[in-house]
Amino acid sequence: MYEGVRSPLIYTPRTIGEFATVIRRHPQAILWAGGTYLMSQPDYYPGEAKDGIIDLSHMEELKRITRNDRYVEIGAMVTARQLLSTGRLLLPPILQQTLQSLGTQVVRRQITIGGALCISDTRLSLSTTLAVLAASAEVKLYNDSKVTTHWIPVAKLYDKEGKLNLGSKSALLTRIRIGLEFGDFQRFVLFGDPIRKSSECGIVALHAKREQNSLSKVQFCVTFPRKAFHISKDIESKLSGSALPIHPEKVNSLSYELVAELTKMHNTISDLQLERARRIFESFLHDLNSQSLS
């Protein structure tokens, strides 16, 4: 079967310098991290990879986890399983919960952090959580003979539909940086299957800090794979500085404001997805209230 299919060339750079040489010669080549998403596409094999595949698994520089007092830096080729086992005491609970939601342990051995963030057309839960944790990503852009390095907030890596937008076709996400000052209220809910049933799926994450009886540093993101990657600055600013507990009427009005905002900006989200996201958002705020009263 498929005997006539042309075998794509595989390039295996070992350093970022070698990668730069390869990507300049083959700007259309597919960057291969863990490959779990690429291989789970129905049209993967036999498929087209005319300009070859760049296998990133030999680049040791992308497999490091380093930390200092203020932040932790995670290489793009670190797998979800490695991050869960080595960072169990270090990482915020919301990130651990997100990594566990990516799949079973067998699949987590293969999923890489960079790969999960750089899927071109759909957003998985990791992007949502890193956006609310205000993480940033180091991106190297290869234009002609010039290499430029940028630190870009994860929230700004995607457009409003959730499509990856690195600013250049020849780009490499090398590591992500997460600050170690977390808020004490973190919530993450994933409903549906983001890969197989993306039309029914949604991801909601909230991160905030409670100071005495008020909220600060509120970060909220709701994602619908292939449809929307939504960060509501309006709701974040309305919640920041709010006194706790938040009045139930305000909770209700905020949740409907979220629905109105989502409907206005993204018209492909189904009513069921909207309603589920709204209720999850409400439950987060009720949770916040119950914690502040206890």
Binding site: M1, S7, M39, S40, A49, V106, R109
Partner: protein, 176 residues
Amino acid sequence: MKIECTIDGKALTLSVNSNKPLSLILMEDLENQSLASYCRGNACGNCVVLFNDEAALSCLIPAFRIRGAKIRTFESFQRSRQYRDIERAYKAIGNRPCPSCFNAKTLIIESILQDLTTDTGHPSASTPSKEVVLDKAKVARELSLNSCQCMDMAELIQIVEIALGYRNRRRRVRRS
């Protein structure tokens, strides 16, 4: 592309397309009988193999990643001592998975047992390698990798518990 690897203990040099999934290589090029389906990314979980001694979905491994790797399919696993532990657990319960998912489920159980009995630490085990307390929710999540519903999850968890008992007993005997 020429790729050298070890499959079921045999050192092989394969000439295959560089991006061909391992599951297709096993089924088409090697005519391995223990794999029966290619779900094209639908995550049926029926193509589990031991890749460098760790369970992996062979439909998610491209040919260029198997260079130098040690791959073990159910064909050779069923001749090992480890398989006896799981087989005895099936007998003790009096039930076993259906023929279409039997191989995959057995290898997933083996992967769980390996994680529970190695000293590297595993979220399913509160005290690895000594007296292991099974985290049933996490074991159930691992078992859900295979989508076949032929067996009750409670029964499968019981099988893991019993097999873990046999495995620990065998390890203790070997140590003493």
